[in-house]
């Protein structure tokens, strides 16, 4: 490729993968620039000669672009405005789009004049961990506010994110991560077997480093080979390629999490598209072709804008047709960076020198360089850089010990490559250190995971392609051994792996030698950590913050630990690496949440009468996951007044309550009665046909877990009623006992909660209303007494009718098929008009039960309340076993000073504050004597009514207690549970 200076300064006249016919306008730090579709923000900024992109975290040093992908530590920007503003994006990962607006983060007032740079002046007093040693007087709070304001990079959005996110689930035989040469070869070989193959690539294009490193594969240009692979894979019916998709997590049993940026840029969603799509993929086999990332060299002044990774320089030249500098120096410890010199020359840039730390670089490379007129300084090192906001020159110490300055505006550095082993490690794989290549690589394959190519430490192109081809085919055949589809032959290419001599730190020269660029961790900081005994790799990370930036240490970790090894006289592998964790690159919270948002996040349940309730003006609230009417306020009426009105309507006439969420479980079989005797604390087997009994269920530790009524429908058939919140839990509970503990019992459990809607017709006039609606069930009290059950029709609708009451009034609980409930409700309302019937909500229903002193499990009880605490001592007289029985006998549960359920009444009639702590006479202020568990104002009694848990309360009826709240103290006394109709006569109608 040839190039020359374009009109945009550093843009080459031709070449690259940009679409020159599609110019794009964008702004950076308020200034307008132009680029092309196909650019990243980073390449467009370089093309426009913008060198200063951001400021570092701690010292606010000027920083430019160092890499070309997700390893970039410096070029962190904030993109977009309002709800769409996105902090901390890397300029190297943002596809350029029309109107993109980005600003530098962590600098004030501007990136070129940043007040925070004062930290740099005092940097000698701010070594790693300095904050642990100071800011203690007078207290941390005196300093924290200032530290917090100085910390952080971008700004969190202040408005709700307007974008949409999606979630997809998938599975495949072979998942290939990375579509560089190795990934393409592996996917092609796997796809050829007819297997279900998914190839994912984080870039917008497949090809990996072939996009910027010229190569010949199977005798053709790499670009032709890539196109060929792509066509082949896409032609297979079971194979797919996903670009702009990053595999970020590798979880148990080959479950991988991928994040796709569909048809947009990291900065904003494409039109009509979700901003991001989260894929949850289960793969039988995984091939990791994630490549390798170049690491910088550690030398004084290595952070100046203009210092760039050597591979990134090639990336910008070849892919984006941008020459990142005019006069370059290459600084390397390996062969690979020599290719960068060639690329710069091809792009009509000048290369003043290749500074190679090795005493004897490979002769052929040296000769090739010299043939292009490039000096190779062997056994040399860059020991300093100059330039204010852009590199002006480098100081080179040559083999003979003499130093000199070489003017340049670009320093391409290469310290070797780190295989991208993140996913491999997440999968549970272990690393080994390869001293010859100076890198950590996978120790082998585990759990159907194969690493190939550079990700496996196989650095030569030919070997890498062969390895990947074999792995792709092997992975596919693991799942389908009988497959005999024709096989493509392995791709052929030449290319020796580059040689390298490790150079972890240049320790002559003056100035800060950065290891972690984003967090400003220098080689001296690592030395300080070693001095202070933070020698373990994890201590090093935590003490210095090495590798904890948003780049997650992709360029810094290995350099850092190798420097620590040298400082402490250990070998590199002895120090080891830190753990590689999810996610490989940062993932937005929105993508992780996916489409399960709002209504779908925790789906709300609605009854058959929901629409009716809403139309009737009900105040709908969340009760244990159900949307239920709290009350039906009239226009202008307060909620409290509505509740009082509804409660009175029931006491004086009739109300109808949507009780559909009540749990209903059918229990049937020859052993049903035996089973329920073991499940309930009280006996159920003695229940007569058509009768109903109230029961308590305990867990094995004797705590009350639910209450409700059991109905005997036939000898071998019961209907178990539970609380609304307990419906699913108790059905599961019954199954667990039946299947795991008593499999010998012949019982079937069927939850039918949402098969039957429940309308609870309650109040003295309920019998009359039911008669008017019409039923074939005899309603006379002697025919259908309290706590009995009848099946028949109501208003022509098949119904199960129970005489049970939670209000203390005559009540018919009408169970009808879910879909017919609105029809029945209309008829009840019509028939009840002459009795002033009212629909009533949950709150008045709870108030009515409170007047009666009926237990509300979960309100009056908590996870520590036993059946004994609510006055159910008689269950221990049973001779048979039941769940929780033995625990009732534990010494602590037998104590008489436990919290026990009692009624409470305030001395002056005011309602007691809910949740108020109670204090018995003679108690200390910190004694836990109990609390008010339920409280309300009784419209029937015209005074407050309450229930509470009181220490030894059942023996203390009539005694005074004080309810203590932040708003004052209330005099009260312990009373019987039922405040209204204590004889319980009204329930019979």
């Amino acid at each position: 490729m040839t190039g020359s200076r374009g009109s945009a300064g550093r843009r080459l006249r031709d070449g690259g993968m940009i679409q020159r016919d599609r110019p794009v306008a964008f702004s950076f730090n308020g200034k307008r620039y132009r680029g092309f579709v196909g650019d990243t923000l980073a390449s467009a900024l370089l093309a426009n000669g913008v060198d200063l992109i951001g400021r570092s975290f701690k010292y606010h040093r000027p920083r430019g672009i160092m890499g070309a992908g997700c390893e970039e530590p410096n070029a962190v920007v904030q993109v977009g405005m309002g709800g769409e503003t996105t902090p901390n994006l890397r300029a190297t990962e943002i596809d350029l789009y029309e109107g993109l607006s980005a600003v530098s983060v962590n600098c004030w007032p501007s990136v070129s004049f940043d007040v925070g740079a004062i930290n740099g002046v005092f940097s000698r007093f701010l070594p790693a961990g300095f904050y642990y040693k100071t800011f203690m007087w007078p207290s941390w709070h005196a300093f924290e506010w200032a530290i917090r304001r100085a910390a952080g990079l971008g700004e969190a959005p202040k408005q709700a994110d307007p974008d949409r996110y999606e979630t997809r689930y998938d599975h495949c035989d072979v998942l290939v991560v990375g579509a560089g040469p190795a990934g393409l070869a592996a996917a092609r070989a796997a796809a050829a077997t007819g297997s279900r193959v998914l190839l994912v690539e984080q870039d917008s294009h497949v090809g990996g480093r072939l996009l910027w490193d010229p190569a010949v594969i199977d005798g053709t240009e790499a670009s032709a080979w890539i196109a060929d692979c792509r066509r082949f894979i896409e032609a297979q019916p079971e194979a797919r390629i996903l670009t702009r998709t990053t595999a970020v997590g590798y979880f148990d049993h080959n479950a991988l999490v991928l994040v796709e940026n569909p048809a947009g840029s990291l900065g904003r969603a494409g039109p009509g598209a979700p901003r991001q799509r989260l894929w949850s993929v289960r793969a039988s086999n995984v091939v990791l072709a994630t490549g390798a990332a170049e690491r910088p060299l550690v030398f004084p002044g290595n952070d100046r804008p203009g210092v760039m990774l050597a591979s990134a320089v090639r990336h910008y030249v070849e892919r984006y047709a941008v020459r990142p500098g005019e006069h370059a120096v290459i600084f390397t410890n390996n062969d690979d960076a020599y290719a960068t010199a060639s690329a710069i020359v091809r792009a009509s840039g000048a290369v003043s020198a290749i500074v190679d730390t090795r005493a004897e670089p490979p002769r052929q490379l040296v000769e090739t360089a010299r043939a292009s007129g490039i000096r190779v300084l062997a056994g040399s090192a860059v020991v300093g850089t100059k330039g204010a906001r852009r590199l002006r020159s480098v100081r080179v110490r040559e083999a003979d010990g003499r130093s000199r300055d070489i003017p340049c505006d670009l320093l391409a550095v290469s310290g070797g490559y780190n295989p991208t082993v993140h996913l491999f490690c997440q999968s549970g794989g272990k690393l080994v250190y390869d001293a010859d290549q100076a890198l950590f690589k996978p120790s082998g394959s585990s759990r159907s995971v194969r690493s190939v190519g550079a990700a496996a430490g196989t650095m030569g192109l030919g070997a890498s392609l062969l390895e990947a081809h074999e792995a792709g085919r092997g992975a596919a055949e693991t799942g389908n051994p009988g497959n005999d589809a024709p096989r493509p032959s392995p791709p052929q290419a030449s290319g020796e792996p580059p040689t390298i001599e490790a150079c972890w730190r240049v320790d002559d020269g003056r100035g800060k030698a950065f290891v972690d660029f984003q967090n400003d961790v220098t080689a001296d900081d690592i030395a300080l950590a070693a001095r202070e005994n933070f020698r373990s790799v994890e201590h090093l990370k935590r003490y210095t913050t090495l590798g904890m930036g948003t780049d997650q240490g992709k360029t810094s970790n290995v350099n850092g630990l190798a420097i620590m090894a040298a400082l402490t006289g250990r070998e590199v592998p002895e120090v080891g690496t830190t753990r590689y964790r999810f996610p490989f690159t940062p993932v937005s919270f929105g993508a992780l949440a996916g489409s399960t948002r709002g209504e779908l996040f925790r789906p709300m349940r609605r009854t058959a009468l929901h629409d009716w309730n809403v139309t009737a003006g009900a105040m709908m609230e969340d009760y244990g996951g159900w949307q239920r009417p709290a009350c039906y306020p009239r226009p202008g009426e307060s909620l409290e007044a509505a509740v009082q009105r509804e409660a009175l309507a029931v006491r004086n006439g009739v109300g109808v309550f949507d009780a559909s969420p009540l749990g209903k479980i059918e229990v049937k079989g020859p052993d049903a009665a035996t089973f329920l005797d073991r499940i309930y604390a009280n006996t159920i087997s003695t229940l007569r046909l058509g009768s109903i009994r109230y029961g308590l269920m305990l867990n094995e530790a004797a705590a009350i877990i639910d209450d409700g009524v059991a109905t005997r429908i036939a000898d071998d058939h019961f209907l178990v009623g539970t609380t609304s919140g307990g419906a699913d839990r108790i059905a599961a509970w019954l199954e667990e006992w039946l299947q795991c503990e008593w499999p010998e019992l012949d019982v079937l459990v069927a939850p039918v909660t949402t098969a039957w809607a429940v309308l609870s017709l309650t109040g003295p006039a309920s019998r009359a209303v039911l008669g008017e609606v019409g039923t074939d069930i005899g309603l006379a009290p002697q025919d259908f007494p309290h706590m009995s059950f009848r099946a028949g029709t109501v208003g022509g609708i098949p119904a199960r009718v129970s005489r049970v009451s939670y209000t203390g009034e005559l009540t018919y609980e009408l169970n009808v098929p879910w879909s017919l409930a609105p029809d029945l409700l209309e008829r009840l309302i019509d028939a009840g008009r002459s009795h002033d019937i009212l629909p009533i909500g949950v709150e008045s229903c709870l108030l009515l039960r409170l007047e009666k002193g009926y237990l509300h499990v979960g309100t009056d009880t908590d996870g520590t309340t036993t059946s004994l605490d609510v006055g159910w001592g008689h269950v221990l007289k049973r001779t048979s076993d039941f769940v929780g029985r033995r625990s009732l006998l534990l010494p602590h549960n037998q104590r008489t000073d436990r919290l026990q359920l009692v009624g409470l009444e305030s001395v002056d009639g005011r309602p007691l504050p809910l949740g108020a702590q109670l204090s018995l006479k003679g108690s200390g202020p910190r004694d836990a004597d109990g609390f008010v568990s339920s409280s309300g104002y009784s419209p029937a009694l015209r005074r407050g009514v309450a229930l509470g848990m009181v220490r030894g309360g059942r023996e203390k009826t009539g005694e005074g207690v004080i309810a203590v709240t932040s708003r004052g103290r209330f005099q009260a006394r312990i009373a019987p549970l039922a405040a209204y109709d204590p004889q319980g006569e009204r329930i019979n109608g």
């Binding site: 709800g83 800011f135 207290s139 201590h539 940062p586 937005s588 996870g863 602590h892 809910l914 910190r926």
Partner: protein, 417 residues
């Protein structure tokens, strides 16, 4: 030991920081100690420190399998609070919080305890009833608390969606103002440095393989990868692995080990200046001094000794953040980690004697051990040195599982914490 101060930092800065001594001495074990503490996390190091400082027992070794602070001390969400329901719990955690309030100066190590408050948000009538009862109990327990209405919460936490149309509308809540966060690693290093200065030996990279027993069955030492070490008494503070060590000593515990995950976002300029816990989702969130949003939620759904998390829980917890803090949806999760926590049936700790004479136990902190490091160390040191439980630790003996005298915060307050 170098004295840490701003002046000394300047003085050292002028000399290139070459004069700083190791924060703690790395020791090779002696053959015999008065007391061995197994587990070099916060609790173990604090135990050693208080043995030396409060009881004058300085011939102490802390034996750590990996590197100090590598367990749950370094894998948590750094929240410190004492907003507990039962008096026994409140006394324990309030004792701890008070020690934390003066810990930086006492250890001469800035642990960055930031008392920015913790708000518990209620999202339904039931939540409000629970909150009222909980806050009432806190007041009775002598722990500071205030009920908050929606507008007060909205002012303090602008990113929180308090709209009545939200999936989890906020109806109120309560705050403990003295609660906050601290730098977790600093707590470990601070105790290590102070204990080391008092003569305690800190031995890293030393794995316990078994216990040495006397003819009468008492524990009189440990077998390790560095050989046998003899001691009069042995304490263990090995959260997550308590059952494993108990197994070596021949008894079982009422403990199940679970992974507890936590997350941190990329660093942001200040966006949240308190800790928020939602009663509806169990998610809690704060912002670290470095700027990352630190997020936690419930336990993983099955027992595990793998220090790695599980995608469904990540998505559920982060989903709660996305739902309740709509502006944060574009913020990115940077790092995630998991600690192995001991969960006992009543979610309260066990501090005291084991069934084996000579062996003492600190375990069972579940999801909340970090905030208890000072009191865990203080009370275990007391028990080991005096032979009797410290008054605030007396209710937290292993015996309670036999008598049924559980201290079940989760059961009482409706949320495991």
């Amino acid at each position: 030991m170098n004295w840490y101060s701003g002046l000394n930092l300047i003085a050292q800065g002028l000399r290139g920081h070459r004069g700083w001594e190791p924060a703690w001495r790395s020791a090779t074990p002696k053959p015999r100690y008065d007391v061995i503490i197994v587990g070099g996390g916060g609790h173990g190091l604090a135990t050693a420190y208080y043995l030396a400082r409060n009881h004058g027992v300085t011939n102490v070794a802390v034996i750590e399998k990996g590197w100090i602070g590598g367990g749950n001390s370094g894998r948590n969400t750094t929240v410190i609070r004492s907003n507990y329901y039962y008096r026994e719990s409140a006394d324990l955690y309030e004792f701890s919080l008070k020690l934390y309030e003066r810990l930086a100066r006492e250890l001469n190590y800035n642990i960055m305890f930031s008392q920015r408050g913790m708000i518990v948000t209620a999202h339904s009538r039931h939540d409000m009833e629970l909150s009222a009862r909980w806050a009432g109990a806190m007041r009775r327990n002598g722990v500071d608390t205030d009920m908050l209405d929606v507008s007060e919460i909205a002012d303090r936490v602008p990113a929180l969606n308090v709209s009545p149309r939200a999936r989890f509308p906020v109806v109120g809540g309560f705050v403990q103002k003295r609660a906050g966060t601290a730098r977790h690693d600093a707590v470990v290093w601070g105790y290590a440095r102070a204990a080391s200065a008092l003569g305690v030996d800190i031995v890293e990279g030393c794995e316990v393989k078994g216990f040495v027993r006397s003819p009468s069955g008492s524990v009189v030492g440990i077998e390790t990868s560095m050989g046998r070490i003899v001691a009069d008494k042995v304490g263990m503070a090995v959260a997550g692995h308590s059952s494993v060590l108990a197994g070596m000593a021949g008894f079982r515990l009422p403990v199940t080990s679970y992974a507890l995950q936590a997350f941190v976002s990329e660093p942001l300029k200040p966006a949240l200046d308190t800790v928020v816990l939602s009663l509806a989702t169990g998610m809690y969130i704060s912002q670290s001094d470095k700027g990352g949003l630190v997020i936690g939620g419930g336990l993983d759904r099955y027992s595990s000794y793998a220090q790695r998390g599980n995608a469904p829980v990540i998505r559920d917890v982060v989903g709660s953040v996305a739902e309740q803090f709509p502006p944060f949806r574009r913020v990115r999760l940077l790092r995630h980690w998991a600690g192995i926590v001991d969960v006992v049936p009543d979610s309260s700790p066990v501090i005291g004697e084991t069934p084996v004479p000579g062996l003492y136990l600190n375990c069972g902190w579940g999801t909340g051990g970090f905030k208890a490091i000072p009191v865990g160390g203080w009370t275990l040191a007391h028990h080991i040195a005096t032979g009797t439980p410290h008054p605030v630790a007396r209710p937290f003996q292993l015996e309670r599982f036999k008598t049924g005298a559980l201290i079940d915060e989760a059961a009482a307050s409706g949320i495991a914490h």
